[in-house]
Amino acid sequence: MRFALFIFTQTLRNIRHSWGVQLMTLLTVILSVLIFSFFYLIYSNMLQAGEKFGEELRLTVYLQASLSPAQQQEFTEKVAAFGKVDRISFITPEQAFQRLARQLGNDSDVLADLNPAFLPFSAEIYPHKDIRNLTRIKEFAEYLKNLPGAQKVQYGQAWVERFGHFVKLLRFIVIISGTLLILTTMFMVSNTLRLTLFARQDELKVLRYLGATNSYIKGPVLIEGFALGLFGAGLGLAALFFLFQWIRNHFSSAGFLQLFELRFLPMTNSAIILLGSIMLCTLGSLLSIRRLLKK
């Protein structure tokens, strides 16, 4: 009990005696967390938006003849045998004809005398995101083509290719810049901690000469590291939240949110950032002080 009290008193004393440096260190952690989580937020929203675009991907299978509901059921099962599919809709020649008319707009009178039956019966397949990458889609198209009754398979090949590359590049950039950001913030925070503790080197030496046990010396430093990580990440995430709210409000007028739905970091990710920050600061303090105590 008295031990805890001493440690606590020591911690307060340290903070009071070097609050300037402590404040700067806190700011360092806040800014690091803010910038890291800001980019993380952007990327997670971008990946999500990318996925949404992916939902527009569909394959159209033109069939030799119309299918009865029972045949449709059978066809669906055959398709699903290849892989998961979000949705399949069957388009009758009439529906296709209406679409064409809509496409032609004012000029649709040209179709007036025609019989819709000249257009084929088709199935539109929206694949699950698991098979939404280029190679799988190609295989899928090949598979569909060989189904009995299939005449021709169409999908926006160029579009899929583009989209695939885009997502790949995005992932790549997320990974590289994420690594870079994590390394940088870790380095900066631990370097700042090191420099801060360095200024207290003499004090630590004196404590050792007076016979202070290791836990007596490390205790306050660890508590400070812990508090630094906690408040740094807490305030950083709070700042991010307000920044996020501000951006969202700024864009809420533009009928924009139907397109991208901006989302804040999920609770679990925030918690991971918080824990990571606490660990980094505590561990950084511990390692720095161990190096100092060895001298």
């Binding site: 008295r2 004090e203 404590l207 000469y209 016979g211």
Partner: protein, 231 residues
């Protein structure tokens, strides 16, 4: 706790400090102590003298394990300093008070806090700390400076703070390195009276000094170092 370390009950020898054939070489080539042997009995007060650079401070640093000897054996209260774990060294240091030649005060902490440190490190109760610190401040004539940061005192005042800190936990062994270098005759008197009192209460005291006035005429033993050798 440390008492349990006294496994062989110090073989009838009442020596608290035992230095046997100790050599200390600072790398690469500074021979600070050469084959020095001496001992101090429990409750004894001894002087260590010698010209500047003779090795007085080095010897004291060896006694509190701030440096380790290149060769030779050092025992404090029966504990071989070479064979102590890190934790035991800290325990032992709690029982040794050192007034450093360069004080080693924390300049931003107050005089009171500086003197209280060794007792805080031993988790003494706040009341005990307060009364002991006040007593020492009184005896050394720096009571009115107690709330000033140690860095804002005159050198002589700082020296007294260093001495008070060394004496604070009534240590088993007190090492005072040039304790009166910055003090006038009257203040030197106060310091010596404090040492005498601690000595009377059973502390073993080693004073390194070049100030003849404090050891001349006393009947305490005196070791003289010259260029690292006992003379």
């Amino acid at each position: 706790m440390l008492e349990t370390l006294n496994q062989p009950p110090a073989a009838a020898s009442p020596a608290l400090v035992e230095v046997v054939k100790v050599t200390k070489i600072y790398p690469p080539d500074v021979v600070a102590l050469k084959n020095v042997s001496l001992s101090a009995a429990k409750g004894e007060l001894v002087f260590l003298t010698g010209p500047s650079g003779a090795g007085k401070t080095t010897l004291l640093k060896l006694l509190c394990r701030q440096e380790i000897p290149t060769k030779g054996l050092i025992e404090i209260d029966g504990n071989d300093l070479n064979n102590l774990s890190d934790n035991d060294i800290q325990k032992l240091r709690q029982r040794i008070g050192v007034a450093y030649q360069d004080f080693k005060l924390l300049p931003r902490l107050s005089v009171f806090q500086n003197i209280a440190m060794p007792m805080e490190v031993q988790f003494k109760s706040p009341g005990e700390i307060r009364s002991r610190v006040t007593e020492l401040l009184e005896k050394l004539g720096i009571r009115e400076k107690q709330h000033k940061p140690a860095g804002k005192l005159s050198r002589g005042e700082q020296q007294r703070v260093a001495i008070a800190r060394a004496a604070a936990s009534s240590p088993l062994l007190l090492l005072a390195d040039e304790p009166t270098g910055n003090l006038d005759a009257a203040t030197t008197g106060l310091v010596m009276a404090l040492f005498q009192e601690l000595n009377d209460n059973g502390s073993t005291i080693i004073i390194a000094t070049h100030d003849e006035s404090i050891y001349q005429g006393s009947n305490h033993r005196k070791f003289e170092l010259k260029q690292g050798e006992l003379f």
